[in-house]
Symmetry: C2
Subunit: 404 residues, 2 copies
């Protein structure tokens, strides 16, 4: 029997380590060929596959793969219809799987991608297909249920914490009044924005305010808080989630005129929160402001990843292969934390029904009373995930990626 | 006799290596105390100095200093008036220097800062003061005359090239039409934007267009070029300088309504070029776009510097001390390149009059005919400057900086 693996949803810096984990575990366990879907399930439906064993024959390719950001196989944002709506698609898809003699199907992705595993495994059961479908967790957003954390988060959190330290240094250089608002990804869950709290330490005063999408956002109260902070120190640095919402539930970024103009062809794009707020603060407080959007940099900065994260991403890929070979299907590999210090964990397999299409938010009791900072419980949770580094391979002064 | 050193203008990732170079060269040559001006000449005029020998007593502090972005001493943007306009200020300043028994004065900065060296050395000559004033070149912009390149540029160029490689990978992940416009610093000189050309290699197709401020920018022609490019490939990635100007000389960013609003208190802020262009492209071509501003990240990313740059920044600091002790004054240390391959250079001292307040632009014959890419002459020039790395010191998962 052969194996097929796909990558889906937004890329991360470590999604290719999970691909390496699936590939090498399958090879070590002596299954047949390992196919990759090009551009996820959408590309597979168009018949686009590659033979990963041929494409990645040696350990040097695997090492480069682990250091290459973005999905090596390409990705998609494609939601399978219900079988009742389009059974033809399912028949075609299972025919393709059968033609390739696939016994095991792995999909590396987030809560949307787990919906694909759910539908395919349910359909397989219904038609009596022996193919096993396993999910491999991935997302910088860290919003998957039934896992302590999600591979991809640790590296993004490390990037955010390091960059915040650098930005805080930069912002204080003139000693003059200055408000810096940094916009961080996370539509409904504030895990990434919370990671800005990791910047504080002996050598860094840390960010002055953290605004999560879990907490209703009052623009006027925000400006008052900034005003009070700026009376105490010249440079105020704020981490704000792109997804903060007003008490009426509307995204703050939609208050910006500019935002509506960007959105000329129907896509809802959340960027613009920091720009809007820095404009409002500049006008209200007559102070100099700067907005910085970390944008896709936070999900593709493979030059600085967490080795813990890279290792876990690789392991959940391997664990998915092991579970599938042992008969599991319709499940996702989860990470179970045993202790913070020393940091220890195991993997297990969870019913994908408890993960698909759901979101895990930051617990309210990890946020301080004034909704401006993270409490020690969050730091204890996040700190182990950013530990250690995977040295990039530099050639001619630049980080090297795997060729396509 | 004692030494005093200050840092001025916009910070870089390697400005502290020049500070280390001045400090250690002065100590090795057995001068007296080494004072630092806090917040440059502006802070010095308020009497703010520190004893650097006490603050940075050992080699561990020096190693952390080299890895710390932004000016350790703080910076300023302060232009000395002409002595004819305010001789009192000069008398006060030289009295302060005399009280501290200063014999040698070093100022690490760009073309504005060299104006300070020019005025102070001229005044010293006029009043018969023996104090020697030397400039130490620094700027990510690489726009100083009389030096092959400027410390700070190599690290910023390396950061830009690495990040462009990552962003290009990220942008192609869905295989769908997508225009990414990345805004890079450089008000009138395109050196930093040109560095995006370094991304191209065996493992990266490179950016699709580079727009420098040296070339008049036609918005409509730009959109036509993007349209043509997108017919050939789904993902188009463009590096654009914040300083591109229309043929009438007006900055493109000023076309954005939003920009005028940001500028509520009189500062001319050039950001907004990529946002304006991505909005225009989205509307005109009905394609998905994203704008990314590298913002201050490109000048403070000390977690990824060029070792060549760090070393040169240190050396120009030391060379300034040597030159001053040998009797030079009113000069700046320049870098003279002897060959590209192998890369070899020497330092010399140049009359600061030929540097102060002037700008060096990218030579037109290093830009291709269609004004979309850099020619090999630029790559041969820039490639040596990004070579090799200085490993960051990671503690508990984060880069470590020197405490203040």
């Amino acid at each position: 029997m052969n194996v097929i693996v796909g990558q889906s949803g937004g890329p991360t810096s470590v999604i290719n380590s999970s691909l390496a984990g699936v590939l090498q575990a399958a090879q070590r366990r002596g299954v047949g060929r390992v196919y990759g879907m090009v551009n996820g399930i959408a590309g597979f439906l168009e018949g686009k596959t590659v033979d990963l064993g041929e494409r990645l024959p040696g350990s040097l390719e695997i090492e480069l793969l682990k250091r290459t950001p973005s999905s090596y196989l390409g990705s998609c944002r494609f939601k399978l219809p219900d079988p009742s709506q389009d059974e033809g698609l399912y028949r075609r898809l299972f025919k393709q799987l059968s033609d390739l003699e696939i016994g095991y199907f792995f999909y590396i992705g987030g809560n949307d991608s787990m919906d694909t595993i759910l539908k395919l495994s349910d359909y397989a059961r219904a038609i009596g297909s022996p193919i096993r479908f396993m999910g491999v967790p991935k997302t910088i957003d860290n919003d998957l249920l039934e896992t302590d954390h999600t591979p991809g988060y640790g590296s993004a959190a490390k990037y955010i914490a390091v960059v915040m330290k650098e930005l805080i240094r930069d912002a204080t250089v003139y000693g003059t009044p200055y408000v810096t608002i940094v916009e961080i990804m996370g539509r409904n869950a504030g895990w990434l924005t919370a990671a800005a709290a990791l910047a504080r330490g002996d050598d860094c005063e840390g960010v002055d305010m953290i605004c999560l999408p879990e907490i209703p956002f009052h623009v006027e109260r925000f400006i008052e808080k900034v005003d009070r902070m700026q009376r105490e120190r010249a440079s105020v640095v704020i981490a704000v989630s792109e997804g903060v919402k007003q008490p009426n539930g509307e995204y703050v970024c939609l208050l910006s005129d500019d935002q509506r103009r960007v959105d000329a062809f129907g896509h809802t794009n959340l960027t613009g929160t920091a720009r809007y707020l820095s404009n409002r603060v500049a006008q209200a407080l007559k102070t100099k402001t700067r907005c910085i959007e970390l944008s896709t940099l936070q999900r593709c900065a493979a030059h600085m990843t967490s080795r813990t994260d890279i290792t876990e991403a690789y392991q959940v890929g391997g664990a998915a292969v092991k579970a599938a070979l042992e008969g599991h299907t319709g499940e996702m590999i989860g990470i179970r934390r045993l202790s913070n210090d020393p940091y220890q964990y195991v993997t297990d397999a969870v019913d994908v029904r408890r993960v698909a299409n759901l979101e895990k938010k930051v617990p309210p009791d990890w946020i301080n009373e004034t909704h401006t900072d993270m409490l020690p419980a969050f730091l204890s949770y996040a700190r182990p995930l950013i530990q250690a580094e995977l040295s990039p391979i530099y050639i001619d002064g630049l980080v090297r990626h795997i060729c396509r």
